[in-house]
Amino acid sequence: MWEAADTMENDTLILGNKRFGNRLFTGTGKFSAKSVIPRMLEASGSEMITVALRRVDFASETENILDYIPRQVTLLPNTSGARNEGEAVRIAHIAREAGCGDFIKIEIITDTKYLLPDNHATLLATETLAKEGFVVLPYVLPDLPLARRLEDAGAAAVMPLGAPIGSNRGLETRALIEMLIENLSVPVIVDAGLGRPSHAAEAMEMGADAVLVNTAISSAEDPVAMGRAFSLAVAAGRMAFLARMREEQKTAVPSSPLTGFLS
């Protein structure tokens, strides 16, 4: 085997006390049927998946989404629905009490048009929950000074958005995410807005440690195949990053000898 493949063998991402060999994280939102979720997880090899917490609607079905997530897959409860740090902390406590482990994705949204995260409230919630021993994964707008504060507060990673949730527009915030990758010591996980496997590959090529993809997989006509496609793209992008790409050039650089054929 060649060297990059050997490197990939031992290439794991550590978050909290867990090691992840697969750098595609997925979500459980918007699947047409819950029964597709375990098949998507198997096809993609994703080792961590998000879930949300809501009030029970007594009039509707009583299926438990956790029954569709294999035991070996790490649950990443999110704090969606929280509008301030207090609500996010409360959701994290409930998730942990419910036996979902210590991982928590902080998602605090006050802007309903673009669903942009409230970075300031997210920092406050991160400070509280990291002190309580949670593995805190804050979902934020990519902002280097804020990300440094998150790192200092004990965040296990920083999760900048590529584009608004569910927009499928890819890495619109690319230049800002690059600053995080270059300057933070905690992992950078690109979350939200990635619509195509090539977007995920692009994020991994530029050095992101992982990506989180929900809508693009769950809303595809074939979520199982799309999960696999994203997984391959993430692995390809990661391998390319580890293999160290060369810079772009303004002019051609010959790949064959420049001498004439018979001269």
Binding site: T28, K34, A52, R55, V56, N64, I65, P77, A98, C100
Partner: protein, 65 residues
């Protein structure tokens, strides 16, 4: 007696929290309960007798990204 469940008032006969959840058909649903703003472990549901003006939040995990 009257309690508040997920923001709505409800008239119920005195019973344990476990019996209330079972009557709602949620015993096996992975529901999580906050009882008067304190999270109550499933193992403790049968020890809690619901009282007048109690407030329950009954939550569950759902799909989300």
């Amino acid at each position: 007696m009257r309690i508040t469940v997920n923001g709505c008032e409800e008239d119920i006969s005195p019973c344990s929290l476990l019996a209330f959840i079972e009557a709602k058909g949620l015993a096996a649903s992975g529901a999580v309960v906050e009882y008067n703003e304190r999270i109550v472990r499933r193992a403790d549901w049968n020890r809690i007798q619901l009282r007048e003006n109690d407030r329950l939040e009954v939550l569950r995990f759902v799909g989300g990204g």
